[in-house]
Symmetry: C2
Subunit: 426 residues, 2 copies
């Protein structure tokens, strides 16, 4: 079985089995779980904490790779489910793997496809928040309705493609095979993310399944790595996913179980509210080995999540909401969000955010972007995606620096007070 | 009345009245109308012959200005009609004029809006080719139908906005006012472009109107220039438009009439087929002063038009078909067009055109672009627009160089034979 190549200031374990993969913690914030580090991958290093840019279908929506680099994007996260459907994992593999196929040629991650169990199953066509807020919201108890595209059983999930309705199945084993074919540097284990409103009995049942799937994911991962190793190919890391909803006992149990699998890092899933970071994330991180990287799965578009995540030991984030909001006209600024489509901006010849160093703010006015939206011009989507993605990538970079400088708590308090226009209390 | 600042090798007329505007012919191809030159504008010089990039609504569709510069775009042509509707000429003016409003900060042109007389009037919802090929194709005779958005009278055109149906009117005078407000470096006189199938009686009537409108355009232009001059603002040039369909007598008459107005350059309109370049364009150019720049209005997507245009004395081209075709998946290569959406390209890991130096071809494969189209990803439109626009800009740059080198006819024959896979005969 391959061992991890994990390095911290205190210890360094290097094996030939996992070349080019490892994690260094370079700075720790005193009396906190917050830290800064470097994640080494076959396609390059990532400075953490980091916001990983969403590239669901092997493209960062509306942006060229050069533009992603211009906003200091370090790594891209694609989705196994979407790439399995289009163009097919085999095509990505033929194209040299995800990084080469899309000519990103930098570090890449893949989601396992497990989240689609949730979003195409009980939550299909409702939206996650719709499920969370639904009066019949116990999605875990809900019977499969005719518009659900996914049904879970003990060994995996039967899907219907949201594109052509064709019948598909994903299991821990097939997710691992697909992710190795797609060839990202970091894979996620196949898990189930239960609804935030599921009953405890369902959460326990789901967690047992997630753990069994994680175990099977790891076995399959190791088997495929042996095949790749014999072919002289580089290691691809597997991060296990911790679930357990808002129940402390289950979060801690899950963290210990996943940790015992000797995976290369962790995703923490099933987090739906900022208030769950000081609780559910904290419980999990306390049980997880300090020296391995940790990813917050499914964060929302809350700026505060980035600060709280780092504070409670998260190293990597991803969220597609920032570019999606940008495409809808909603732009982040240091003093809150604005909707650039509003008529008030028609004659505002200042940048979206006068403090912002992004291409959009350095080159264009609110009036121009307002015009592009009104005129249905696609450049509006590109300029706003550039701006919002720079905003969030840059903010996490600044949080990283504040961890290194030891100014994290001051930065957090002043930034969030200005952003929310009142002191921040999670 | 202001005079032109026209320079050729043989003569140079410089007046204080038209600062920063002028045209130098630097090279002439022996025994031909083809020439290379430099068009001077308040926002910079343009090397001619040149393909002017289409920026109808103050944006080159899907491309940032940096990307337009990366394909060696020298100038942008926007549309008075579209900008009048959105965001409004007053907003563009408040934003510092077209070049500053869109932060292009290079040379710009505007169409007069006159072509919309045609495309929103008799040709509305039919498409130009549909009118040209129609059995009841005499658009000039056609009665105004309820779905026409424009009606022509002696003094101008009543429009209905294609956006909200509101009633608008454009006259030579209002087109000039709007163009000065928008503030491009080169304006076009307000003209009517008759259908290619119009009867001779209609063409004569229409041409008389176009000439009267050109005269009124010039009077209004000079009046506004005096106002601007007193305010210390730079000159904006007026190019007159030659019509006359396929009738030699009318083309020559039109060229002489427009030439006598002492405008700063010329647009040649109403050209619908490549075969009209050696005839109708040639007749017009023979009557026009050699030392002023000439623009081919309404060229199609025929690569051969670029060679024929230069051969018969055209200095500037524009056409939005190249980016539009790119957005539809149709890509230009040195050996003809391909549709990147075709399934055969799903596993083709070579560039669109192996000889092409554009960003798209230097960075991406056919398989990747095919995937982006299949996955409805907007980056597909950006990458194809970059490629096609580079293709045509670069081709005209190469034609320019062949005029300078004296290799034009060899280049034309070899390029078009390879492109069409047979010797080219117009």
């Amino acid at each position: 079985m391959p061992q991890n190549h994990i390095m911290t200031k205190d210890k360094q374990i290097t094996t030939k089995d996992t070349p080019n993969y490892g994690f260094d913690i370079t700075h720790k914030l005193p009396n906190s779980l917050a830290r800064a580090g470097v994640l080494h991958t076959p396609h390059g290093d990532i400075q953490t904490p980091v916001f990983i840019v969403g590239g669901t279908k092997a493209t960062v929506k509306t942006l060229t790779n050069d533009q992603v680099r211009s906003i200091n994007g370090q790594a891209i996260l694609a989705n196994t489910y979407h790439l399995m459907l289009r163009p097919g994992a085999d095509i990505v593999e033929q194209g040299g793997g995800l990084a080469k196929f899309m000519n990103w040629n930098g570090p890449t991650f893949t989601d396992s496809g497990g989240f689609q169990v949730f979003s195409l199953g009980v939550a299909y066509k409702k939206g996650i928040n719709a499920v969370a807020n639904s009066e019949q919201g116990d999605a875990g108890k809900a019977k499969a309705s005719s518009d659900q595209l996914a049904k879970i059983d003990e060994f995996g999930v039967n899907f219907r493609s949201h594109i052509d309705g064709s019948a598909l199945r994903m299991t821990p084993e097939s997710s691992m095979r697909l992710q190795w074919q797609i060839g990202a540097d970091v894979h996620m284990a196949f898990d189930e993310c239960p609804s935030p409103l599921a009953e405890e009995s369902y959460i326990r049942e789901s967690l047992a399944r997630t753990h069994e799937w994680a175990r099977l994911s790891k076995i399959e991962h190791d088997k495929i790595w042996q095949e790749h190793q014999q072919a002289g190919k580089p290691y691809q890391a597997l991060w296990g996913v911790v679930q357990g909803a808002r129940i402390e006992e289950l979060r801690r149990e899950s963290a210990r179980f996943i940790s015992d699998l000797d995976v290369d890092g962790f995703g923490i899933g099933g987090i739906f509210e900022p208030a769950e970071i000081p609780t559910a994330v904290n419980w999990a991180v306390q049980e997880l080995p300090e020296d391995k990287p940790k990813h917050l799965l499914g964060m929302g578009n809350q700026i505060s999540d980035l600060f709280l995540g780092v504070e409670y030991g998260i190293d990597t984030f991803d969220c597609i909401a920032f570019t999606r909001q940008g495409r809808n006209g909603s732009c982040y600024t240091a003093t809150g969000r604005i909707n650039i489509k509003n008529t008030q901006f028609k004659t505002d010849f200042t940048p979206l955010d006068p403090e912002c160093a992004c291409y959009t703010c350095q080159n264009h006015t609110k009036a121009y972007i307002n015009h592009l939206f009104k005129a249905d011009e696609l450049l509006a989507l590109t300029l706003n995606s550039l701006h919002n993605e720079f905003f969030v990538v840059n903010l996490v970079d600044r949080i990283r620096q504040s961890v290194i400088d030891g100014t994290f708590y001051d930065f957090k308090a002043s930034y969030l007070e200005r952003y929310f226009k009142k002191p921040f209390n999670p």
